[in-house]
């Protein structure tokens, strides 16, 4: 149970109890203070009362003394009586004044004292009327004694004296009564206070004990909660430490990575830059964070600066690659870069991207040197091969005299392998040019059906020879493609399919529009390709079975060339296969937009001089046979033995294979569109050099296409 769940009611009860106790104690203290104040007040009043009584007593004593002094004078005529009387009179007045001062707030007392003052004044005046107090000689004293001895005077004085005494007694009684009342009230309060203190004290003790119990219980549950919290914190700390360790490890990996790594949030702002990236870009990692990816990773191309692949990833959540880009450093210099932008997904949501990139300048240079080397070597190999192949060909062709049967066999082997070597060199050069980007495509809108049918027609003889049926099927879609190059791809794929198809089976070639692209397909019923090889076969010199190269006569470069061509078109090529149930090779090409469909210019290429060139064919289906005349003439017109008729001395499947010279067989060439062969009969470039793109390209390709990888 979590301690926090019961905390609220406990807390409220505890606080309520505490507040009640506090209020009660405050009340008790107030009561005690009131009681104490009352008692102090009562004491003060007692003193006051006693003082008043004392003053009253003083007054009475003074009056008695004055009476006694006056009577003594009447009897004796004592000369000292006058001064003594005056002294007592002043004492009386002082006492009276003090009493009046003390009872100013008590109206009845004040009234009584005023009456006392008046009566006493009258009484004293009676005595003074005798003149005794001012008699200066014996004669005067005698006269005064005589005046004061009258019996009426004595009575009158006594009556006044009694009134004064009665009044003073009243003052004394009143004051005493007041004192009794006050002391009584104080005593009652004291009793109540005492009882309240006893009861309150008991109650406070009970409350304190209750609160103590509550606190104890509460602190016990708190202690339990603390213990579980401490355990939880301990666990958390362990987990945190593990996470930190992992984090450090990850950080170390990122920091040690040789590749530049840049993290980008979903809005395209940089969140992370590893040291390699910072070094490559010439920018401090801290400086890059928070900047838009276009600023941090400015890719350069003709269109300017951008961050295309990264933005693409943030938009579609897919991985985007840039195999040949250019990045600008902060100092303005640029370097070639290979870049991969991968999405960072959380619960299927795109939350950012991680971009890895590397400087490929050095690799490019090495590759360039390698390619150049390969190119030079390959070229240099061709000169001796030309005379070698020529000499062997003439010998094998029986043109240099009769050769024995075994000699003939040896010559045929030599010719075949020379051809293979030449094919290999051609393919190497071809691939190298594609990879180096030195093959310029001339894409035009082309009917896919035309490509499919042309390729099927080209390969028909080979299929026939292998007992394989070729099926071609394509709807009227138009693709944006360099027709010769795509024919090269298609014939290559068909050639492979035929090679690996058992006799009597079918190879289907088709094209269709799918997902905004054209999808080409070559399907066979051969032995299939194991899944792990499906990607590898597109690499150079990679065949499913290493013995294939010899048995099937390929160079191991055909599919690599196909991939190069398709990718150069912006398409994708891949293979699918169920071992034992054949393989399907597919590739995509961009569809020709409707605006392009009618375009195409005056000819396939400048210099072809043929107004009926492929690209401008008014009827997509028509031109397939139009060039037949030209091609047929090329292939069938040589005097002397026709190419295919080299007869017993030649393996006809290798006729012309790998020779740039071509020698397309009649059955193949007859159906080639005129545009593909390139132009006016007068200048039919029968055969091309080893450099690409031209009207005569296809003728050159045809032979090597027959037996690619």
């Amino acid at each position: 149970m979590s301690p926090s769940l019961s905390a609220a009611p406990h807390e409220r009860r505890f606080l309520a109890g505490f507040a009640a106790l506090l209020a009660f104690l405050v009340g008790l203290v107030a009561l005690g203070y009131l009681s104490f104040a009352r008692m102090a007040d009562a004491n003060r009043w007692s003193l006051h009362t006693y003082t008043v009584l004392s003053e009253s007593q003083g007054m009475q004593e003074a009056l008695v003394d004055m009476e006694a002094g006056f009577r003594g004078f009447i009897l004796t005529g004592d000369a000292g009586a006058g001064p003594a009387w005056r002294e007592r009179r002043d004492a009386f007045r002082a006492h009276l004044a003090a009493a009046e001062r003390l009872t100013r707030d008590n109206a009845p007392q004040t009234a009584r004292l005023h009456a006392v003052e008046a009566l006493a004044g009258r009484w004293m005046a009676m005595q003074q009327a005798t003149g005794f107090d001012v008699a200066a000689n014996a004669q005067a004293r005698e006269a005064a004694r005589a005046r004061g001895a009258g019996p009426d005077d004595v009575r009158a004085r006594s009556a006044v004296m009694r009134q004064v005494r009665r009044l003073l007694d009243e003052v004394t009684d009143d004051e005493s009564a007041l004192l009794r009342r006050r002391v009584g009230r104080a005593a009652a309060l004291e009793r109540v206070t005492g009882a309240a203190l006893v009861v309150g004290g008991l109650f406070a003790v009970a409350l304190a004990v209750g609160l103590g119990l509550l606190v104890t219980r509460r602190s016990r549950s708190l202690a339990a909660a603390n213990a579980s919290l401490a355990a939880e914190i301990g666990e958390r700390r362990l987990a945190q430490r593990a996470a930190e360790r992992l984090g450090r490890q990850t950080e170390l990996i990122l920091e040690s990575a040789d590749e530049g790594i840049c993290g980008v949030d979903v809005h395209g702002y940089a969140t992370f830059l590893n040291p390699a990236a910072a070094a490559l870009l010439g920018r401090a990692a801290a400086d890059a964070i928070g900047r838009p990816v276009e600023t941090v990773l400015p890719l350069e191309d003709e269109a300017g600066s951008h961050a295309g692949p990264v933005r693409d990833t943030l938009r579609d959540g897919a991985t985007h690659r840039l195999s040949a880009g250019t990045l600008r450093r902060t100092d303005g210099s640029v370097f070639p870069v290979e870049l991969v932008s991968a999405p960072v997904l959380e619960d299927g949501q795109i939350v950012g991207a991680v971009v890895t990139f590397r400087d490929v300048a050095e690799r490019r240079e090495v590759e360039r040197m390698k390619d150049e080397f390969v190119s030079v070597v390959s070229h240099e190999l061709r000169t001796p091969l030309t005379s070698l192949r020529g000499s062997l060909g003439l010998l094998a062709g029986g043109r240099a005299g009769e050769v024995s049967t075994s000699g003939q066999r040896l010559l045929d082997i030599a010719v075949q392998n020379t051809d293979r070597l030449v094919r290999l060199i051609n393919d190497i050069l071809d691939l190298e040019r594609i990879r180096a980007g030195r093959v310029e495509l001339e894409p035009r809108p082309v009917p896919a059906a035309e490509l499919v049918r042309s390729a099927a027609d080209l390969m028909e003889p080979m299929a026939e020879k292998g007992g394989v049926r070729l099926e071609a099927d394509a709807p009227p879609v138009r693709v944006l493609a360099d027709a010769d190059r795509i024919l090269q791809v298609l014939t290559n794929l068909i050639s492979n399919a035929v090679k690996f198809s058992p006799a009597g089976s079918t190879v289907a070639v088709s094209a269709r529009a799918e997902g905004g692209r054209a999808l080409f397909e070559v399907r066979d019923r051969g032995r299939g390709i194991p899944a792990p090889m499906l990607e590898a076969i597109f690499e150079r010199f990679h065949q499913v079975d290493s013995s294939d190269a010899r048995q099937k006569g390929g160079t191991g470069l055909g599919l690599a060339i196909c991939r190069g061509i398709v990718e150069q078109h912006g398409g994708r090529i891949w293979a699918e296969s169920a071992p034992g149930d054949g393989s399907t090779f597919r590739f995509t090409l961009p569809l020709a937009g409707s605006t392009d469909a009618s375009g195409g210019g005056p000819g396939v290429r400048s210099g072809s001089g043929d107004p009926q060139a492929f690209g401008t064919s008014p009827a997509p289906d028509a031109p397939l046979d139009r060039g037949g005349g030209v091609a047929a003439r090329i292939a069938t017109s040589p005097p002397g033995p026709p190419a295919d008729a080299s007869g017993p001395h030649r393996d006809s499947s290798d006729a012309g294979d790998g020779w740039d010279v071509g020698a397309p067989r009649a059955g193949i060439s007859v159906r080639l569109p005129a545009g593909l062969l390139g132009g006016a009969a007068r200048r039919v470039p029968l055969v091309e050099d080893d450099e690409d793109a031209g009207p005569g390209e296809l003728e050159r390709r045809v032979p090597s296409l027959l037996h690619p990888a």
């Binding site: 030309t386 005379s387 002397g640 010279v661 200048r683 029968l686 055969v687 080893d690």
Partner: protein, 123 residues
Amino acid sequence: MRRILVVDDEDDIREVAQLSLEMVGGWEVLAAGSGAEALRRAEAERPDAILLDVMMPGMDGPSTFLALQANPATRDIPVILLTAKVQSADRRRFEDLGVAGVLSKPFDPMELAGQVSAALGWT
């Protein structure tokens, strides 16, 4: 009998081409090892066609062809260029020069004659 002049600085290749054209084509073959020699022989012997290697030291194929064109005595002789290495721009340049055809090396000696015939429209 057709007479054809084969021009190549590589002796072996020239000889194979010569043998091929003689044996397979059944033609009479003249040979020259350089552009200058080709000009002399062409003017002197007026062959029916010339098979001209592109890459030669000194006067190369195209230059030789232009020189042949410049000479009224040889300007009508059709020329086929034979080349192992041609840049695509060069190939167009060759075509624009007005040659009868462009063949590439290595060639199949059994078919060379046929290709030459096709390019020249010989039957």
